[in-house]
Symmetry: C2
Subunit: 153 residues, 2 copies
């Protein structure tokens, strides 16, 4: 009785990749698409469990693995804890600012080092295929506190 259309929003995409279109896969893709930021498997699991019908955590992981192997999504690792993050592969290059105060993640759209990588490619004996840049610091809100507190690190 719900959104049959909606549910198969990604059918073509999935079939094109040679995998079946299922309720869970569609839901996961949808969540990732809606989210501004990378999500953990657990976040997806909880949202899905509440929102749609129940889903098993292992299904979430397997689905994410499948998507990652098809390059539909990108898996990365958060720096501080060991949790993996998943986001849609927009095939656009993107970096984030990670606030060490409140752990907020802020996207920056243009890659500040794109051309630098080009230059570097020519200087070193190494075939650069990609890079990951994480920038740490304090966001607008945390700045204030930090200025009154900070000392070490």
């Amino acid at each position: 009785m719900i959104l049959l259309d909606e549910n198969s929003k990604y059918k073509e995409l999935l079939n094109r990749e040679g995998i079946k279109s299922t309720r869970h896969r569609n839901a996961i893709l949808e969540l990732l698409e809606e989210s501004e930021f990378p999500l953990t498997a657990e976040q997806l699991f909880i949202t899905l469990r509440d929102k749609t019908a129940s889903i098993d955590l292992s299904t979430v992981y397997r689905t994410l693995d499948t998507f990652a192997s098809k390059n539909l999504i990108v898996k990365s690792n958060r720096a501080d804890d060991g949790k993996a993050l998943y986001e849609l592969n927009h095939n656009e290059h993107k970096h984030h600012l990670l606030c060490v105060g409140c752990h907020k993640l802020i996207s920056i759209d243009d890659c500040p080092i794109g051309e630098l990588m080009q230059t570097l490619k020519n200087k070193i004996d190494f075939d650069i295929t990609g890079h990951k840049l994480e920038i740490y610091g304090y966001c607008h809100d945390c700045k204030k506190y930090n200025h009154t507190l900070s000392s070490d690190t």
Copy 2:
């Protein structure tokens, strides 16, 4: 009966940080100092178990945590697997090239984006305190194979 001198090589340093100088702590610092690259807790554990007297894995982890909290070492996360890496904090800024072919890690000494961070600091409402850059690709040795095989990504 061994290297009493050697063993207390880091005594001063440790005491200065307010922690006791022990056989294990000295040994771990020594290994990290000798190593050109970040090591996992497990690598340290195995080396130490064979080399000096036996050590418990939990001691390795606790020691590494202690060192990290004193900023003697730096903990980071390898991108592909979930293992944490530890290296001496040289207080020098350093980046690595990670070969996705053979997983070799190559150091690059100068930070290619230092001044870029400076520029960025002024452009955005975010107090940058640090950054991490990982560059992926194929090293000299893996390049050859890659050229004959590669296609995607």
